[in-house]
Symmetry: C2
Subunit: 196 residues, 2 copies
């Protein structure tokens, strides 16, 4: 079997810690020294385990995206009214990003941070954003089938608007010092969804 000592750190925990750093500061501004400090491992261990900074970031991004998409699905697939669940989700988004020290969505922050012509990263980002859009769409389709939103509404386009709006909310939450802006935006969105 394996020879030599076991790893002195948990790969998953280290990855989660790395994710926090990339989340808070974005790819470029997340320095190796801060990553290492937060992950609690040495340089060589990082490179042996995760490759390099870029592939560590990709793994952390995957960890993040899978996590929030799972949470979204859980929230929106809850029993009861699809529209009610959607409203609840929007309120949750508002609450999370209104908290002081909130650092936005890791996807959005790094869309801004990465060079726009980095196609490899852009493709990964697009994939995750598309998943979010799809989750919104599926919920809106069910809401429409249940008669909760207008039969004339276009669920796919509505989902795209929700995607843009939530990304904007997460972004603005990074800089706003009170929650009136985010609260108002979500209130307006909910009231528009109710208008049939």
């Amino acid at each position: 079997m394996t020879r030599g000592p076991e790893k002195q750190f948990d790969t998953e925990i280290a990855l989660a810690k790395a994710m926090e750093v990339f989340w808070a500061h974005g790819y470029e501004a997340a320095s190796l020294s801060e990553l290492l400090k937060n992950m609690g491992i040495g340089k060589k261990s990082l490179y042996d385990t995760f490759g390099n900074k870029r592939s560590l970031f990709l793994k952390a991004l995957e960890h993040y995206a899978n996590s929030i998409i799972r949470d979204m699905r859980n929230c929106l697939a809850a029993a009861g009214s699809p529209l009610g669940n959607l409203k609840q989700l929007l309120r949750n988004v508002q609450k999370i990003h209104s908290q002081p020290g909130s650092c936005g969505c890791m996807l959005g922050t790094n869309i801004a941070d990465f060079n726009t012509d980095d196609e490899a990263i852009a493709n990964v980002m697009r994939g995750y954003l598309r998943q979010v859009e799809d989750v919104f769409t599926a919920t809106l389709v069910r809401a429409q089938a249940a008669g909760e939103i207008s039969p004339d509404a276009n669920p796919r386009n509505l989902a795209r608007l929700l995607l843009c709006a939530t990304q904007g909310i997460a972004l603005l939450g990074r800089v706003m010092d009170d929650d009136t802006t985010l609260e108002g935006a979500v209130t307006a969105a909910i009231s528009l969804l109710d208008c049939r």
Copy 2:
């Protein structure tokens, strides 16, 4: 009077060039070497004229914000229906950020780029965002007075939603390779504004 040779470059043009670099890459990723190359001046001239990188950024940000807020006002204050003007603005936003090579909104990009605890920068950002919100609000108030949107609507909150949505649109435009997402989002927004 003044002695010695005149400046060999135009301060305003150099500032506009600096703005382009900060716009495309964000504060951190905009290196001095690229700034100097694009501005076409020497290091010493930059530091003598603009102070340092940070104050150059603040001047460039001011230049950008004043410019887009002026454009917004022009578009929304045009003759005719306030709601019609607003729809036109949203379509313009979509078109701009759908173009290949689009690098988003300089405000949004740098909200993501800057450390969240940099209060000085955050305050400047908040000021500009608030101005955008106010322009949206004023237009919606006029649209409401003209009976173009529901008398029950809350113009301030609607403006906050439009602020978040447009920031999200600008952000996603950086990474999207086709315009279906942005087109759908704006279409949904316009159709929601029409729902009374």
